[in-house]
Symmetry: C2
């Protein structure tokens, strides 16, 4: 067996609120944009993104480790909807 | 002149910290993942994403309004790096 691959693998973890969970920051942004007089006020939603860069692991392992990080630390399954995807490093 | 286009235009505003600005949440996540015993601890960076959905405006106008929202409300040019791009609605 050779050494593990030396490349970096970059994963993007995107955490949003589930439909029905109040997005207070988004509501505040909508209100503020209206108060500022923006010519057209958009509907707003927010997301938190974590970029995870792994060294010396395979793409499959990076996906698995990212999902473990989500499950054990980053997201709350009661209120959060999560996507995990590889992005160019 | 006809009516303005009726389609929704969805813009993604992604706000990151500039290089050199301490990303305290990212540091905390790295430390926590190490303490949890994750098999490989990634380098972490964070970003805030605002999804803005405009009705009845052109793609060009949605881009302009999003940049106005960034400049007047969402980002601090001293510490933030911002990208604004259209995404499928």
């Amino acid at each position: 067996m050779g050494p593990p691959p030396k490349n970096s693998v970059r994963m993007e973890v995107r955490i949003e609120l589930k439909p029905g969970v109040v997005d207070a920051e988004a509501m505040s942004v909508e209100k503020s944009l209206a108060l500022l007089g923006l010519a057209a006020v958009p509907r707003v939603s927010t997301a938190r993104v974590y970029d995870l860069v792994f060294d010396d692991v395979s793409a499959v392992e990076a996906q698995r480790l990212s999902e473990e990080a989500v499950d054990r630390l980053l997201a709350n399954p009661v209120i959060h909807r999560v996507s995990v995807r590889p992005v160019p490093a």
